[in-house]
Symmetry: C2
Subunit: 508 residues, 2 copies
């Protein structure tokens, strides 16, 4: 066993199968990775093998950043108590965050997770507006509480879920690749916003009002959807006219990931949400999240909000250290430069590989959508799964997402370099070439003779509309079996550990 | 300013009023305390003044325990990532917790707060049973998510709340002091359990089933209610017969606080809940919480549960260190011995001070209920508030709770000593004597000539039934003005910082 290990890998896995909720899934359940050490954009397994991490957006300024660790350690040995006592860290941190936001977003609530943040945001909206209903984007995911499961199409559309509640209203994701409109050359920002307006009008006609329109500034689990310019600016007008507030979920995409601005909502020129929620990258792995809103919304309720750990001096010290590192190491600039380089390289790949249907993103938030046919845009789901399994063998961590799980998703630590980008794109091109050779000749240059086998994995539920126009002869595997399975923010091949053998049968 | 301070106290307070949600309340808002350092059972303000902490049950093994800090620091610099990778800490911690629990409670879900734990527990119960409704104890409080606000009478009975939902069912708290039964010498455990049976019968008759009965093993915010022996054993039978599961909320009372057992539910002989939730003391201040349940309940859903921070290696390292300290320092034994000593001393005070109506508790979870009259049991709410304000001036942190906020609540760090207990009871007796002198003569031995003034605070909403039989001449203040105010798990005198002057006008 490696230094520091308590159990060998097989024993860790066996204990996990016995002791941990079976719905808490592993990456690569057939051959999961045991990570024992991490630094910057690299993670190391128990054998000391180094993985390039392209997915852990939580380790925002790099795994185990020494400045963040030092700040946490120092504060932990001094005082860590609840926010019913005065402490400088709480207000200093709020002050620093306020400086990144439009002036109207000035009142902070500190919590422990993006789920707590989104749940509280909806509660604030309900109290402020007096309304109950919530409008969300299709395929959106907002967290794990009962309320958030109810308003996340990503969850409630699963077979095992209780389905959509009548107070939840879903508008199309404003996707510029899979457009819902027949016409070309239309103003997509306006067209998609008109869909919101139309639904709000229908609701009004039936006597309903919404408390909130809740959407990620860039849709993450939904498949890296970047809304067209002008969309949010129009949506917020419609939402206000309908008596609701606009909640921008920056849990996955905030804190400079997009490179050109600190918050992803700022990509939409002049747009200012009524509430912003933040989480994942905020504490570089420490449980820290936040809701910020306007003074008017904050003062609309008198019911005390006490969060035991929220805003404690240690969490705030960690949050402050993350902001310091972002500045000191100019990580927004890095995200912008490295992200642009990665996107440019991916476009070169696209010119050589028809399977790449779309590349979209900004900074270090990038999606690469794989399709079987550029015209029909049929999702290359199995191929996308194959890519991430192959990359894992090459010690690169990448994930897929989107309703058809066919979008390769880059969201690495912000210290990711051009060399890292080149490393992964070189590997990726090799794998795509192999896939094309199999599609063309039933063989690959990696020596697989009989084509790519069906991976021994349960694939997620795929939406019906993505199956139309399927070209069976080009598919790597028939997706959709065990389709009741459900994948969260990072949707890797996974299944119930407790009930499935842990034998790897993945094509290599 | 003290070393390490960024702002002087007035500036911290001003920034807080501007930047932090006004419903996030301070202890003693008229004269809040700025804490800059803490160790063991002591906290220190910016002037270096030392406070004895009788209330911070989160700092379970003592503020800033060096073993816990060291474990966190070491793990933070090694790796901190999500539970989709294998890591030993997760399974080692689950294994250690399992050893404290009955064998049927064997499947763990790690989360970041008691709120996340209770919310998930109800979701699990709903999926397992297929039912939706929830039954809770009157005055119960279970957390901050939308779901938990809906099922916490402590919250939804507040004037500003949206009230009780029709899927929420409330049974009487099984209080042995304020009994709901006329008869003497009855089996209270059976009698209170029969109330649950009766309500479940009524629900069944109207075609309703419950998903869960959710209760704290010992009711904390509800006023330190200790259920009579035999209560939970009978309730779980009734709940099972009605198709529901029993969720024991140990967020406030678990991890050995009761002294004689590791979990408070174990005080009820042979009782085994279906689900147990844990939180506050679990990480000694680090955001760490958990749901444990049976294999049957855990395997009843296939919807993935992914909690970004839940069960990360740092949280688990902290949790393991807390368990180690509990063992190494024999803190359960300490809680039992010191708790018994404190209760014995309080009983001596009770024999001399008629205002002490009831003393109840076990280990270091103790409530002292103050009443204006031992026969009518009219709550001495203002007196209880006065006690905690006076104790604060004596640098002792104590709080009040219960629906009438007249229960003094002891829940100190587990390293609390007999000397600490003697220190606070000596101060308490002096204050009670003063109060009695004022009641008797309109003056006190602290030199207040004209009786005790109305404190410049907003007092919490008091339930109507506690006002019956009020003896006006003996009350210190007319409670109930600004009664829309709402107080959470520790209910100190507090009000909206943003809208109220911060001038202290508290009687000393």
């Amino acid at each position: 066993m490696a230094s520091g290990e308590m159990f060998d890998k097989a024993e860790t896995l066996a204990l996990r199968g016995k002791l941990i909720g079976p719905t808490c899934r592993l990456f690569f359940p057939n051959d999961p990775i045991k990570m024992v050490r991490a630094h910057g954009q690299y993670m190391y397994n128990e054998a000391g093998e180094k993985y390039l991490d392209c997915i852990n957006n939580v380790a925002h300024v790099g795994h185990c950043h020494p400045d963040v660790v030092a700040a946490a350690s120092k504060q932990m040995e001094t005082i860590n108590t609840n926010s019913r006592f005065l402490h400088d860290n709480l207000v200093a941190y709020a002050q620093r965050l306020a400086a990144t936001l439009p002036p109207s977003l000035s009142v902070f609530y500190f919590v422990n997770s993006g789920s707590e943040a989104n749940d509280l945001a909806v509660q604030l909206a309900r109290r402020y507006t007096g309304n109950y209903d919530v409008m969300v984007m299709d395929n959106g995911y907002h967290g794990t509480t009962a309320l958030l499961m109810d308003i996340s199409p990503y969850k409630f559309k699963q077979a095992d879920s209780s389905g959509k509640k009548d107070w939840v209203h879903v508008v199309p994701a404003p996707c510029t690749y899979r457009k819902i409109f027949e016409e070309d050359n239309i103003d997509l920002g306006k067209a998609y916003a008109d869909e919101v307006k139309k639904q709000l009008g229908n609701l009004k006609a039936s006597g309903k009002m919404i408390a909130a329109f809740l959407a990620e500034s860039l849709q993450s689990c939904g498949g890296q959807v970047i809304p067209p310019e002008g969309y949010f600016q129009r949506v917020i007008e419609h939402v206000h006219q309908a008596g609701g507030v606009f909640i921008a979920d920056e849990v996955q995409v905030g804190f400079g990931r997009v490179g050109s601005s600190f918050w992803a909502f700022q990509l939409q020129h002049g747009f200012v949400p009524d509430v912003v929620t933040m989480g994942k990258p905020m504490g570089n792995g420490h449980p820290l999240a936040c809701v910020v809103t306007t003074a008017a919304i904050a003062s609309s309720s008198s019911i005390e909000y006490f969060n035991t750990f929220g805003g404690n001096p240690v969490s705030c010290a960690v949050g402050l250290a993350v902001l310091d590192v972002l500045e000191k190491e100019e990580l927004l600039k890095n995200a912008k430069i490295v992200g642009a380089h990665l996107i440019a390289t991916l476009h070169k790949l696209q010119s050589r590989h028809p399977i790449i249907g779309d590349i979209r993103g900004t900074g270090l938030f990038i999606g690469v959508e794989l399709v079987l046919d550029r015209e029909t845009k049929e999702p290359a789901t199995a191929e996308a799964q194959h890519v991430i399994v192959r990359l894992k063998d090459e010690r690169v961590l990448l994930s897929t997402d989107g309703p058809a799980r066919n979008v390769l998703k880059f969201k690495p630590p912000m210290c990711f370099t051009k060399a890292d980008a080149d490393f992964v794109t070189t590997k990726l091109e090799h794998i795509l070439t192999d896939i094309e050779n199999i599609g063309r000749h039933g063989t690959s240059d990696s020596g697989i003779e009989s084509g790519i086998k069906e991976p021994d994995v349960s694939l997620p539920g795929i939406q019906e509309n993505h199956h139309s126009g399927r070209k069976k002869q080009r598919r790597m595997a028939d997706v959709g079996h065990q389709a009741k399975d459900d994948f969260s923010s990072i949707n890797w091949i996974s299944h119930d550990l407790a009930s499935q053998p842990q034998v790897s049968n993945i094509v290599k």
